[in-house]
Amino acid sequence: MAASSEPIVSAEQVTKDFGSLRVLDAVTLRVLRGERVVIIGPSGSGKSTFLRCINGLEPVTSGRVVVDGLEVGGTGVQLSRVRSAVGMVFQLFNLFPHKTALQNIMLGPVKVLGLSRDEAKRRALRLLERVGLSDKADEYPGRLSGGQQQRVAIARALAMSPKVMLFDEPTSALDPELVGEVLEVMRQLASEGMTMIVVSHEMAFAADIADRVIVMDKGVIVEEGPPQTIFTNPQTVRTRVFLTRLLGRSGKHEAE
Amino acid sequence: MGLEIAYLLRGTQVTIELSLLAFAGGGVLGFTVALLRVLGGSDVTLVVKPLVDVVRGSPLLVQLLAVYLGSSVLGFSLNPLTAAFVGLSINAGAYLSEIIRGALTSVPKGQTEAGLAIGLSRMYVVWGIVLPQAFPVIVPAAMGFFISLVKDTSLAYVLGLLELTRAAKDIVDRTLDPFHTYVIVMLIYFALCYPLSVLVRVVDRQLQHKGLARERL
């Protein structure tokens, strides 16, 4: 849709080993500005590892990742700059439990971007409003539902004004009735033109927002294409097997 | 120099003997108190707990002085060794009773109930079923406590008992070289305690590997 022809994330021949285990095997992926990519694949196929390589949480064994012209890797300031250009949302939210929703969101802008507290607070409040949690600004994460925590986590990532947002199974730890509110925030984000790479098995959601679906298995991309093609007419046996296993369970949430 | 080392070694021997004696005394006392509290119910606890709390809430030094000076005021003057033994045993008993009680209560209630359900006596259930399961928790903790006890015996210095720290003081009074004397004394204590610390770590790991430690129960 809004995608331009210029890649904002380019991962070239990314290989990642944990000891003798090869988790990513020469994975190449270019994501265009404004593009929405959904990654699916069986457990252990390397999806999370791939996302973590994109923001440098995991150093690559070989290959390179460039985000918005900045090489991922290196240390200190360089790495910090890349990371603040890449927002990441985790499966288990990872909010800071000793900080309120507002403080969670303000931390990065104050400590990394060097905003004044007032400015950071205004930004945080705007973001809380955007994810529908204005009334929870002073609540600690322990007192929020999973869905609310994940929305705060999204706001925390957005506060860094990232160029790309990475989502690693953002709804898979949530009770079914809380999945919708998080997907809704993500949909809204997509409609605003945010570049997103999402690991998710919410098929209806993927079909809805994805420009491209990537299927990973055993550390390689086995298939990619527009959601219609992947979901209705997969080319590889591995994708077919995986999708049939998945369809049984994901229809449930989305049917609500 | 040789004479002084011999003197320190004699003190070391007293330190070791006192540690072992007090550990035995404290162990008996601690076990008794823990079993009383676990078996005896709330009225026993009502009496025993404050006593344990007082011992754990006041300094060992004061307890040693109380036993030593108190006994002479009451007219049955204990000698320094006996007073140190009694004072350290009482102190160790209080701490060990908490270690043992904590371990006993960490064994799931279902174990006790299962034992009672098949008609075993309460006494037997605690002794024969709960205690063996608590053992992997008790052993490393009690060993760790023994190390503290070795160090604590140095306070018997104040009673004039000729253990290692006192022996050092005598030498310092004579040679006026406290630095070297106390460094050597520290090394002797270290030689006693450090191997035990390593052993505690090994035992702890072993028991955890066997899946018997509290976390796994």
């Binding site: 910090s80 | 060992l60 004061v62 002085l65 106390y182």
Partner: protein, 216 residues
């Protein structure tokens, strides 16, 4: 007993203040030393790890009394002289630091990895991550151990009496040589320590309940 304490309340109170000064000083200094040692202990730099480990093991495997005597009597051989109070605070700080280091290490290790990743993901530098994210959570996890260590420090500060620091125990011992009412004096002294321990324990418990309610 009560009338004896009341008659000498001024002395007891000043002894109590000194005890508190020693314990607070040793907790504060020991915490600084302990945090630093714990960080070194977990560092990737080999020599720093060795240094912190040696300190921890040496102190934890030798009696605090000998450490105190070494500071008070041994250091003057090198021209480093302390008052009894100064030596007591210094020795207990060094002693406490080793125990606190192990407590802090456990606390640092108890912070879930996801917290570090979340901090890294927003580009937070290492020091800010430590101060803003890790330490507060570590403190929350270990504050029962810290409380216990504080109580132990108060009790252990009584060894200051053995080098003439006029803290609570020394006040009682002086009073004993004046009045010879040994049993009453030592009983009163014990109860004072029990009282201090109980106050610390209950204050900490209340704080714990408040924190628990705040975050959950």
């Amino acid at each position: 007993m009560i009338e004896l304490v009341i008659a000498h309340i001024g002395e007891f109170f000043s002894g109590f203040k000194i005890t508190l000064v020693i314990a607070l000083g040793a907790m504060l200094g020991g915490s600084l030393l302990g945090v630093l040692t714990a960080i070194f202990r977990l560092s990737r730099v080999g020599p720093l790890r060795m240094l912190s480990l040696s300190y921890i093991e040496l102190i934890r495997n030798t009696p605090g009394l000998v450490q105190l005597l070494l500071v008070y009597l041994g250091l003057p051989e090198f021209g480093i002289r302390f008052s009894p109070l100064g030596a007591t605070i210094l020795a207990l700080t060094i002693n406490n630091g080793a125990y606190l280091a192990e407590i802090f290490r456990a606390g640092l290790q108890s912070v879930p990895k996801g917290q570090l990743e979340a901090a890294a993901a927003i580009g937070l530098p290492r020091t800010a991550t430590l101060i803003e994210v890790v330490l507060p959570q570590a403190l929350l996890a270990i504050y029962p151990s810290l409380t216990n260590q504080f109580i132990q420090t108060v009790l252990f500060s009584s060894i200051g009496a053995l080098i003439g620091t006029v803290e609570l125990t020394q006040v009682a011992l002086i009073l004993n040589t004046q009045t010879y009412r040994t049993i009453e004096i030592l009983a009163a002294l014990s109860l004072m320590y029990v009282g201090i321990s109980a106050v610390i324990a209950s204050a900490s418990h209340r704080l714990g309940v408040r924190l628990e309610r705040r975050y959950h």
